[in-house]
């Protein structure tokens, strides 16, 4: 027992990373199950069991593989591998900016996979996903910049515990980040690239040509990503984890309500919207931090 404890202490970042790799998809799946139940309740339905995402993935893994070519499978695997890398780097307390880049490339792998097949729906979905990235990526970078301006480092492990919660210093960035989460979870009104609801328009967009185990790989990646996003939300109130969890829960509820209250809108609307309101929110928050730090804006 003591030997085990000593091992854990000595290899703390690695143990944390390994644990995160196992726990993250479970949390993600539970969140997704909860999401589907809550959505059903909002619509006056009963909804599926909480463990439905697990059932789905187990079923998908059991299906016979079919594909269009080899390339798309390579990209599905990279999509998952890079998202796992994001989880590992977060758990090891690595550089936030690098984590952001790796996260972006996980998404680019999915986009490239969708583009590698000669399927019109898949291509359209991919292009819309690129537009989504163009819409939210600058806001994520600004968020990370804001964190640097507060703590003077990108390295998560050097961020001091305690102190003033991030939410107090980055309230507007937090609001903009909520919109980013909405895009990332493919929720209305931003679910343009692949949607549970758009059967007729783009069928299933970017993931249409993935099926069976390959679709399962993408779904698992989505679970990791869901978990990562709400972990980041919780970190906005890091000094008290309970408050952080409450914050994440509120954000989660907000996403579901927004999804059910909105219709899907067009891609260009999304880009225009994201580059105006959330962008202005994020930029003004960052500008305020610069001014507070006493630097000039020039």
């Amino acid at each position: 027992m003591e030997a085990l404890l000593a091992f854990v202490v000595a290899w703390k970042p690695y143990v944390l990373a390994a644990a995160a790799l196992v726990v993250a998809p479970v949390i993600g799946a539970l969140l997704m199950g909860l999401d589907r139940i809550l959505t059903a309740r909002i619509q006056g339905r009963v909804g599926p069991p909480l463990l439905q995402p697990f059932y789905d993935i187990v079923k998908l893994l059991g299906k016979a593989p079919i594909a269009l070519n080899r390339v798309q499978v390579v990209y599905a695997c990279l999509h998952l591998a890079l998202m796992m890398l994001v989880v590992v780097l977060l758990a090891m307390g690595q550089d936030l900016m690098m984590i952001l880049f790796v996260h972006a490339f996980s998404n680019i792998a999915l986009i490239l996979g969708g583009m590698s097949v000669r399927s019109p729906y898949s291509r359209i979905g991919s292009q819309r996903q690129i537009m989504q990235m163009l819409a939210y990526e600058p806001i994520l970078v600004l968020m990370v910049v804001g964190i640097y301006l507060i703590f003077g480092t990108f390295q998560i492990s050097r961020i001091p515990a305690g102190g003033v919660p991030l939410l107090v210093q980055l309230p507007l960035v937090f609001l903009a980040f909520q919109m980013v989460i909405s895009i990332k979870l493919q929720k209305s009104p931003f679910d343009v690239s692949t949607s549970h609801h758009a059967h007729q328009e783009i069928v299933k967009g970017i993931t249409i040509e993935y099926s069976g185990p390959y679709l399962a790989v993408i779904e698992i990646t989505h679970l990791y990503e869901t978990c990562v996003l709400f972990t980041v939300v919780a970190l906005f109130w890091a000094p008290n984890p309970l408050v952080g969890l409450l914050l994440a829960a509120l954000s989660f509820l907000f996403q579901i309500v927004l999804d059910n209250a909105c219709a899907r809108l067009t891609t260009m609307w999304m880009l225009r919207y994201m580059w105006t309101l959330p962008m202005v929110l994020a930029v003004s928050n960052i500008a305020w931090l610069y001014l507070r730090n006493g630097a000039s804006l020039g």
């Binding site: 593989p65 079919i66 594909a67 269009l68 070519n69 080899r70 390339v71 499978v73 390579v74 599905a76 695997c77 998952l80 591998a81 890079l82 796992m84 890398l85 780097l89 090891m92 690595q94 900016m97 690098m98 880049f101 790796v102 972006a104 490339f105 680019i108 490239l112 583009m115 590698s116 097949v117 000669r118 399927s119 019109p120 729906y121 898949s122 291509r123 359209i124 991919s126 292009q127 690129i130 537009m131 990235m133 163009l134 990526e137 600058p138 970078v141 910049v145 640097y148 301006l149 990108f154 390295q155 069928v203 040509e209 185990p213 390959y214 930029v283 960052i286 500008a287 610069y290 020039g298």
Partner: protein, 628 residues
């Protein structure tokens, strides 16, 4: 050795020009390339050095300068372009003035200096440049077959192509301003000749534009030298930098902007793509544009902490963002590459302007990585263009099957431009970290990076679009083109793997560059911590992903393959088919064009305003240092 670096390419270029038969010419070109490459590597291994030419060489330099300007004047006469002629006359007058005016007595400076920055440039020029020359041998043999009748002889082409390397090597070693401007003008002449090689109306017009814009830059440079001498600050870069003569430095930076095609001077580089592809590759990766970014970087410590530095950072970052946006709307592969080059040069200039050790290191790394990747990409596009007869990105679907090796290498080059663990991404990361206290620059870099991803992803998506095939057969390429692709491809992989350890290695270079300034030790610390980033998880997980993919596709057979979903209307039933039954049962191909966002990002919407803003930034630059 430095003499060899300059003289060997020029000499072998002349030999190639004079040789009567093609095999003999090939021999001279190969020898010249090999010798330049070897000399470059040897020089790099020897390390820093200084060379001072004897007194009489001043007269020699003066003579050469006048001769070079006279050549340009003659060209302007033939082109009947009074603007170029006027600039040539102005240059000649200023050169003469500088010669006649009394000089302040300063300790003599070395004529040529080889320091770590020069060594990196020499390596890029000699190695990447020689590989491109090697590629050109095979390319030009094919090009001759379908070149227009107006094209110049191939011998002349190789004279300027190989000679270019010599001029560039001289440029990055020159410390004496006169030698600097000599080599500067020679590169201008070389690029003019190479761009106009095909002799078509378009080629002539674009060559003339390149000459005009670069002559403008050259005039700014000579004016800078003259002012420096008049102010009594000597006639070498070292003197100018130690005197911190801001106005001459700003003029030199302006010259650098024209050479590295920064906005609003970008049009010449976009026009330069009418030339045969090896020329584009050379101009974009190893030579020419790198001269500009080199000069800005070389001068960076001299304007550290001044307003000039801030403005240069803004100008570079603005070019980066604006050209990245412009690249989105382009479907011409070479034009996308051209805009991407300008964007990356903008990033280098922005880093030079940020002027911290971290930014300086990022700039040097971008310069090196960009040279290798972009050279490779141009070579690939050239090979693809010769095969499919088009340089439109939309036509490049399916080349993965038709020319798998070239397509894979092109893919490698593109991935190296944006993805981890390759160096470009790493340097961009350092640039963002360095820009963190300059909000405007930071914002422009962030927006530019997002748009960069957009146009690369589109292109990669198009290139790798492929139907299922049981097996792929390697295409046939001329041996020299093939060798060049393989060498640069290997270079990209190598720099990708070594990118992380390379960062701390630049510390010596950066310390050397900022030796004259008392920078706080903490600013160097950032450089060291950037290098300690745990790189192994990245390699581990990318490796795991590829391994998983390998096992997944290992047992792929035709039985696994299904046609795409086309609402069940696929032609040919269960066969793998990409057509669907359209109206009246006619087969039709499902096709979706890439996203170009023309209504937002098209050239005619953006270029004018972006040029206007860029002009204002440059005017502000001179206004701020009190030159206006």
């Amino acid at each position: 050795m430095p003499t060899l670096l300059i003289v060997a390419p020029i000499l072998f270029g002349i030999l190639a020009w004079l040789s009567p038969t093609a095999p003999l010419r090939t021999l001279w070109v190969v020898l010249g390339g090999a010798l330049t490459c070897a000399a470059g590597i040897l020089t790099a291994l020897r390390g820093a050095a200084e060379f001072t030419l004897p007194r009489w060489s001043d007269n020699l330099a003066y003579g050469i300068e006048i001769a070079v300007i006279a050549v340009i004047f003659a060209i302007s006469f033939r082109l009947k372009d009074w603007r170029i002629g006027l600039l040539a006359v102005a240059q000649m007058v200023m050169a003469a003035l500088e010669r006649l005016l009394p000089h302040a007595a300063l300790p003599p400076a070395a004529t040529f200096v080889i320091d770590p920055l020069s060594i990196i440039l020499i390596l890029v020029i000699s190695v990447v440049g020689s590989v491109i020359v090697l590629y050109a041998i095979g390319y030009m043999r094919k090009h001759e077959e379908h070149a227009p009748d107006t094209a110049a002889p191939t011998g002349r082409f190789f004279l300027f192509l190989v000679g270019f390397l010599g001029a560039m090597n001289g440029l990055v070693m020159a410390n004496d301003l006169r030698w600097l401007s000599i080599f500067w003008e020679i590169t201008t002449i070389c690029s003019f000749m190479l761009i106009g090689h095909d002799g078509t109306d378009e080629a002539r017009a674009n060559a003339r534009r390149a000459l005009l814009i670069n002559m403008f830059g050259g005039t700014a440079m000579i004016l800078g030298g003259l002012l420096c001498a008049v102010q009594g600050n000597g006639n070498s870069l070292a003197h100018m930098m130690s005197a911190q003569a801001l106005i001459p430095i700003a003029l030199l930076c302006l010259a650098a902007f024209t050479k590295s095609a920064q906005m609003p001077f970008q049009s010449w580089l976009l026009g330069a793509m009418v030339a045969p592809t090896p020329v584009s590759a050379l101009l974009h990766s190893a030579t020419m544009v790198k001269a500009g970014s080199y000069l800005v970087l070389r001068l960076a410590p001299a304007y550290q902490g001044t307003r000039l530095s801030e403005i240069i950072a803004v100008a570079g970052a603005f070019t980066f963002a604006a050209t990245s946006a412009l690249a989105i709307s382009q479907s011409n592969a070479k034009k996308v590459l051209a805009y991407s080059t300008i964007a990356n040069l903008g990033l280098i200039v922005a880093c030079a302007g940020l002027n911290t050790p971290l930014a300086y290191s990022a700039a040097v790394l971008i310069l090196a990585f960009h040279a290798v990747s972009k050279g490779l990409l141009f070579l690939c596009v050239g090979a693809i263009e010769q095969k499919i007869g088009s340089r439109d990105i939309e036509d490049m679907g399916g080349i993965m099957y038709r020319m798998p090796i070239t397509a894979m290498i092109a893919l490698l080059g593109m991935v190296a431009m944006l993805a981890p663990p390759f160096g470009m991404l790493l340097s961009k990361w350092m640039a963002i970290e360095a820009a963190i206290f300059s909000p405007l620059v930071l914002f422009l870099i962030v927006m530019g990076s997002a748009m960069t991803v957009l146009f690369w992803a589109k292109w990669i998506g198009r290139i790798q679009t492929v139907s299922y095939h049981e097996r792929y057969d390697a295409e046939r390429l001329p041996a020299s083109m093939f060798a060049a692709l393989i060498i640069l491809g290997a270079g990209v992989i190598l720099t990708g793997i070594l990118a992380f350890p390379l960062i701390p290695m630049t510390e010596g270079l950066v310390r050397g560059a900022y030796a004259g300034l008392a920078l706080p030790e903490a600013s160097f610390k950032a450089l060291r911590t950037a290098g300690t980033f745990a790189a192994w998880p990245i390699f581990l997980f990318v490796g795991l992903g590829l391994l998983g993919a390998f096992f997944a596709v290992r047992r792929f057979s035709a039985a696994v393959i299904r046609p795409p979903y086309l609402c069940g209307e696929n032609v040919g039933g269960t066969d793998v088919s990409y057509s669907f039954r359209s109206l009246m049962d006619k087969p039709d191909t499902a096709w979706s064009k890439s996203l170009y966002l023309k209504p937002v990002f098209s050239e005619d919407k953006i270029t004018f305003w972006a040029n206007l803003i860029a002009c204002m930034i440059i005017l502000t630059m001179f206004g701020m240092i009190g030159a206006l």
